[in-house]
Symmetry: C2
Subunit: 213 residues, 2 copies
């Protein structure tokens, strides 16, 4: 078989464990024993642990960036030269985020947590890999972002976009822990979808906040 069952079992186990514990804190032995495969299988199929990490990312990031590019082009075609509103733009992104993982086995929560880790737990090789692989989708998103916030100067826009990405990455990377805390305090459970829904207005308002002098 070109894609042995083993490969998928490893990817599933790795994805879950990485999301749960981070990269350095997850050993190959944890992964292979959760996947019920031999330890050597990882190096046989992927070559190295770093390559496995990248494979885990591309499995969910590729469909996502694909879907994002398609969706953005579709909507902006429909709108002609009218630029997308900020809300619409963020809406597209969140739609793609929520849609994609359900196609694979990954939950949205693991998906987002991995994204957060990629940002935070700065593994040099990962950052490099992601930049090379997904720069086109990212640039397209940034172009729409420019059009959606014409009132901002380039510098202002730069910082606010960083704030936005930071909020998202950070919240998602600790979303589970935060949900636990909240449940403990107020006996309310918040799903990842709901967190995203809460996040969007916060971000939109922040991006459009009146400028300081």
């Amino acid at each position: 078989m070109a894609h042995s069952d083993t490969v998928d079992r490893i990817l599933d186990a790795a994805e879950a464990l990485f999301a749960e514990r981070g990269f350095s804190e997850t050993s190959l032995r944890m992964i292979t024993s959760k996947a019920n495969v031999n330890l050597a299988a990882v190096n046989y199929h992927f070559g190295s642990k770093n390559a496995l990490i990248q494979a885990v990312f591309s499995r969910f990031l590729s469909p996502f960036s694909k879907s994002l590019e398609v969706e953005l082009k579709r909507i902006s075609d429909k709108h002609g030269d009218q630029p997308l509103s900020l809300e619409a733009l963020l809406g597209v992104v969140t739609t793609c985020i929520v849609k994609v993982p359900s196609q694979s086995k990954t939950g949205v929560s693991a998906f987002m947590r991995l994204l957060g880790l990629a940002y935070t737990q700065s593994q040099g090789h990962l950052r490099k890999y992601l930049e090379e692989e997904y720069s086109s989708a990212f640039k397209l998103f940034m172009k729409h972002m420019r059009d959606a916030t014409p009132q901002l100067s380039a510098v202002d826009r730069f910082w606010r976009i960083q704030f936005m990405l930071g909020t998202t990455a950070f919240t998602m990377s600790s979303s589970e822990a935060l949900s636990d805390i909240l449940e403990n305090e107020l006996q309310v459970r918040t799903s990842t979808e709901e967190i995203v829904q809460r996040l969007v207005p916060f971000l939109a308002a922040g991006l459009q906040a009146p400028l300081p002098k």
Copy 2:
């Protein structure tokens, strides 16, 4: 000497390396060789690596939480039963953040990055320690936060505060890298103080964003 030079040198080196690379990715040997002390000194003075991590945190978190409590009480006394405005409250926090590290050798950026790591790289022992040690300052801040955002439900407020903390920790933790990128792109240099000034309106607007249904 009660507080040998060695102890401080270890703390300085550990602080810098933790901020730069994270906890698991920083070995005791890196720390001791950067600090120019013997490997065994860490276990002698602190007992374990985990204890060292906690010591690094308390060195900068204790003065900060102290200063925050004092400052909050001072200002709220001055205002009588009038609740602090959101802007004023955030102002107090940022003032304390910017003020405290300059007393020690820590830069604001390392200070914030460590906070971010504490959140993200959730080492069980650290979370527990921080909760026990600094719950009083945190609870005081949350009380004022409640008063400053009466329009929010408890759940809404919880999440928006998390968004706010996330944005701050994340931005500050990568502020240096981001400044570099911006300078490269637009030939503009942004100081940490300016970043904070840009952050506050973003956060205030996000916190007060209209609620989704």
